[in-house]
């Protein structure tokens, strides 16, 4: 048992449901007790979905415990088949069903005989994988199912499209800014003269999956979901894939160069020409995207050497770390991810761009690390935003898990050239602005070099007398926390328990000395 009250990645079935409900006309049926259909609330509220979430539960209750599901699951599947006429029904196990050890595969086999829809059982183990791993696995499973079906039926189409084309794999519901990223990627590929063959799973039809191999290559923008599918397609059909996340000016260029390399394998033969994107990259980098210019501008100068902490999923944490370190000259004191299963890749990506790497899914560890490092800004998930609030450190949200405010209506991609602009704004606005910076200097300096306490929970054994409290109130709000901390740190170092105005001034002198 583990004492916990917050987690970064959800349980496995959430991942399966996210993939299933992203496809069009696919229905998921959970084998779960009453109340486990909370996914519907999340999708309806966070994504502000207009349509009913295509997820229902085959309810596990006392009777099921006593006698087993028997006909119930099969009935629920066939009933849904009649009601909604979906192309595919995905039976989704939950933590409950994995302990019940019912033969769900048997239900699936029986149900598929009597229904027009295809029926599959999501192959995920609740106790072994988390939300993201399950999503990755489910997507691969669905793709594999339909490609094998097509092969059996002999309507597999593996001839390449006339023009260079790509599949985008891994855009799905409740993903962090996925919708905007998708639009930006479409634009990028269009600019390069590449046709989009298919985007999966978001908005895709399973009946079209057999046409996946027609694309020249696969683009997997996020590490968490889609890699398994890309690997399968590579192994079965020899389709190359590109998994460099086009986030930040440098990596977008990397990604585009890899695309160029891939399509130049076939295009001299099929189209009798070679593609060269260098001009496009240069034009976009220097004049269309504002991020490169921003990094040269004097605004960004003020950020030089400022300390930041990054935490999030592997894709976003790694990309943002690289952007901060290489493209903006910010010092990344610590970067980390909760994707423990992808630790090796993550370490390799960021090891030269930060002082310290933290791999954990325990938010208290992250909180304590932030309290210890005392960065000028945090880039993390919703949890880090709250840690920042408590410590009075600004935070930009760069990764799931997120709240509704991170499903903006406006266009906010993180990928592509427009993404670089968005990220530049986010980073710049997160750090205290130039003028505030000067005020900080006046009131006692900013870059605190030592540690106050080593944990997030700062104990309050110090007493502020009335005058010093009054004095503290006079200091502008946005620097007050810092002054308070500096003074308390000074007091602790000098074994002072009662803080007077004199102590405050002494602390200020001590720090500026």
């Amino acid at each position: 048992m583990k004492l916990a009250y917050w987690m970064y990645a959800g349980p496995a079935h959430i991942g399966t449901l996210r993939v299933a409900s992203s496809f069009k006309n696919v229905h998921a049926i959970m084998h779960a007790p009453l109340g486990d259909d909370y996914f519907n609330v999340m999708r309806s509220m966070l994504e502000r979905e207009r349509d009913f979430t295509p997820v229902t539960a085959s309810i596990v209750d006392r009777h099921v415990l006593a006698r087993g599901s028997q006909e119930k699951v099969v009935d629920n599947i066939t009933r849904k088949d009649k009601q909604e006429r979906p192309d595919l029904i995905v039976l989704t196990p939950t933590c409950t069903s994995s302990i019940l050890q019912e033969d769900l595969q048997n239900f699936v086999d029986r149900a598929s005989m009597s229904s027009d829809s295809d029926v599959i059982l999501a192959d995920v183990n609740h106790y072994r994988v988390n939300e993201l791993q399950a999503a990755d696995r489910t997507l691969e499973q669905v793709v594999r199912y339909y490609l094998e079906k097509a092969r059996r039926q002999g309507n597999l189409n593996i001839s390449l499209t006339n023009k260079p084309s790509a599949n985008i794999i891994g855009i799905f519901t409740l993903g962090f800014h996925n919708q905007h990223d998708c639009r930006e990627l479409k634009r990028l590929l269009q600019d390069l003269g590449i046709i989009i063959n298919q985007i999966i799973p978001e908005g895709g039809f399973v009946e079209n999956l057999h046409e996946l191999p027609k694309a020249w290559f696969n683009l997997v923008p996020y590490r968490e979901v889609g890699l398994m599918t890309a690997l399968y397609l590579e192994k079965e059909f020899g389709m190359p894939y590109i998994s460099t996340t086009p986030m930040g000016v440098v990596d977008i260029a990397n990604c585009i160069r890899q695309i160029q390399k891939q399509i130049n394998i076939w295009s001299p033969i099929l189209l009798e020409k070679k593609f060269d994107f260098e001009l496009y990259i240069d034009e976009q980098t220097r004049f269309i995207s504002q991020a490169a210019w921003f990094s040269r501008s004097i605004d960004c100068q003020n950020l030089t050497g400022k300390k930041a902490v990054v935490f999030g999923d592997a894709t976003h944490a790694a990309s943002i770390t690289k952007i901060l370190a290489c493209e903006m000259g910010i010092r990344v004191s610590c970067t980390g991810t909760y994707c423990k299963h992808d630790e090796e890749w993550f370490r390799e990506q960021v090891q030269n761009f930060c002082d310290e790497i933290l791999i954990t899914d325990d938010h208290t560890e992250v909180g304590d690390m932030i309290a210890r490092v005392e960065p000028s800004a945090i880039f993390g998930t919703q949890m880090e935003r709250h840690i920042g609030k408590r410590l009075d450190i600004p935070c930009g949200v760069i990764s799931s898990p997120v709240h509704i405010q991170n499903f903006p209506l406006g266009y906010r991609p993180f990928l592509g050239y427009e993404g670089t602009n968005q990220i530049a704004d986010l980073v710049y606005n997160s750090f205290t602005l130039g003028m505030e910076d000067h005020l900080l200097e006046i009131f006692g300096g900013h870059d605190t070099k030592e540690v106050i306490t080593k944990s997030l929970s700062i104990d309050t054994d110090l007493i502020w007398n009335a005058e010093s409290q009054l004095e503290l109130k006079k200091i502008p709000g946005f620097v007050r926390g810092k002054i308070k901390r500096n003074t308390e740190k000074f007091a602790r170092q000098h074994n002072i328990t009662k803080i007077t105005v004199e102590v405050m001034y002494a602390a200020k002198e001590h720090l500026s000395a």
């Binding site: 048992m1 009250y5 007790p33 109340g35 909370y38 309806s44 509220m45 349509d51």
Partner: protein, 464 residues
């Protein structure tokens, strides 16, 4: 699947394929209500994920609850449950030092048959903190019934009253009589009579309400010279009310049937079956019923109710004649429907997860009377509803308002049906005379909002 509206109260039961919150959500309001408690939910990541998302920002405020997350080793019994729970509870004791730890059993602990009730007393003596076990799981219960399981378990922990009453009563009577020895005999007798009247048997109210609402209700009863001797739950675990054979108990919420049963059967209390104090009509009926039991004539209650209706006029004008459809997920539905019918609304259907006809008897009768009085058709009551069928019925009936869970609210709005999230009724203050306005504020919000948007021509926002 008939969509006709019947003349008498009809009860139906559907498939139980409906959306509701898991009953473990009760920790959200109970940990706030019982200030010195700590709630430990013994379950899996699924439970944790639900809590963390359903409770939103509360998570970040160092709540007094946590998950004991079961891992593969716990499921396959490679780890010793008792030792594991002991380790966690000692950790909790060190960090928070609560007066009580409440274990919330979940579906998983049911399925693997973890003997929480057996382990708790042993651990309790070992770590010297009371441990209460409540099985608030999705296999057996829906949403607010979670509170019911916790309070039913807590009822066992209330101190015994029997002896204490007799003793104090004796002393009271004696000392008061001594005080008045100088008075003539006739007056003394009169005094005694009134003393008996005022010296009513103890009344304990059960149901968790925000403390302001609880004191409002206590005050309403005080006006009728009825003293509330305690609440289950109290603000602190250490202040639990005393219970016993002579104690009267009365519920304030419609989902507390297990608690009521426990109080009657195990603690020998006398249950006052009354409609629930939701809406001015409900509040009045509730007070009247309590007064009736204590043989007290109510004073100024009718005027008080009238006053409240007066103050609601603007809202009533907005909803009179409008129709409403309860999809059902929190068991407040019967009382709310009854209040809305009294407000002049037409209720097509009352979906409800579970219908205890005995515990809610007075409320059901009151609902019927209200329909007759208002000359409105009786709604159909659908137990264990099927959301899919309900949406088909709604498509036909086109109600002016659907009271529904969050899973369906946005999709229904996109189809031009006004909705109100049912969860808000659970968290808002809706009890007593004072809060009737809040209920209507909630009910009318979508109508008021949509009045503003009506002429813009974008009611239907889905592609057909």
């Amino acid at each position: 699947m008939s969509t006709k509206i019947s003349e008498t109260l009809t009860f139906e039961c559907e498939t139980g394929n409906y959306h509701t919150f898991c009953p473990i959500s009760c920790v959200a309001w109970l940990y706030q209500k019982i200030e010195d408690s700590f709630f430990l939910v013994i379950g899996t990541k699924t439970c944790g994920y639900f809590l963390q998302n359903a409770l939103g920002v509360m998570i970040f405020a160092e709540p007094r609850y946590a998950m004991a997350e079961l891992e593969e080793g716990d499921i396959s019994a490679q780890l010793n449950d008792y030792e594991e729970l002991k380790r966690l509870c000692i950790q909790i004791k060190k960090a928070r030092n609560p007066s009580v730890i409440i274990w919330i059993g979940t579906c998983t602990t049911e399925i693997i048959k973890m003997d929480l009730e057996g382990m708790a007393p042993k651990l309790e003596t070992e770590i010297e903190i009371p441990i209460i076990v409540a099985r608030a799981n999705g296999l057996d219960y829906a949403f607010t019934q979670g509170e019911d399981t916790v309070l039913a378990a807590m009822a066992h922990r209330c101190p015994e009253q029997k002896k204490k009453i007799e003793k104090t009563q004796k002393i009271d009577n004696k000392s008061i009589q001594e005080l008045f020895t100088f008075l003539p005999l006739k007056i003394k007798e009169k005094m005694n009579k009134s003393l008996i009247l005022k010296n009513q048997l103890p009344l304990v109210l059960f149901g968790s309400l925000p403390s302001t609402v609880a004191s409002q209700l206590s005050l309403e009863l005080k006006r009728q010279s009825i003293n509330v001797s305690g609440w289950l739950p109290a603000q602190r675990y250490t202040d639990l009310p005393t219970l016993g054979e002579k104690v009267y108990v009365c519920g304030v919420n419609p989902f507390l049937s297990r608690t009521a049963t426990t109080l009657m059967r195990r603690r020998k209390c006398k249950l006052i079956g009354a409609p629930f104090p939701i809406g001015p009509d409900g509040t009045r009926a509730w007070i009247e019923k309590i007064c009736l039991v204590f043989n007290i004539e109510t004073q100024g209650l009718e005027e008080r109710e009238q006053q409240v209706w007066e103050s609601l006029k603007n809202y009533l004008n907005l909803i009179r004649g409008k129709s409403v459809f309860f999809m059902g997920d929190n068991l407040l539905e019967i009382s709310l429907a009854r209040f809305l019918i009294r407000c002049g609304m037409i209720v097509y259907e009352i979906g409800i997860p579970y219908m205890d006809k005995r515990y809610q008897a007075a409320e059901l009768t009151f609902l019927q009377e209200t329909c007759k009085k208002m000359c409105l058709p009786m709604p159909r009551i659908v137990e264990k509803p099927d959301n899919y069928n309900q949406i088909q019925r709604m498509r036909e009936l086109q109600p002016d308002l659907a009271i529904t869970g969050m899973a369906h609210a946005n999709p229904l709005e996109a189809r031009g049906i006004n909705t109100k999230w049912s969860v808000e009724f659970t968290f808002a203050q809706i009890h007593g005379f004072t809060n009737a306005k809040d209920v209507l504020e909630l009910v009318t919000r979508p109508l008021r909002r949509n009045n503003n948007l009506e002429n813009l021509g974008w009611t239907n926002l889905i592609k057909l």
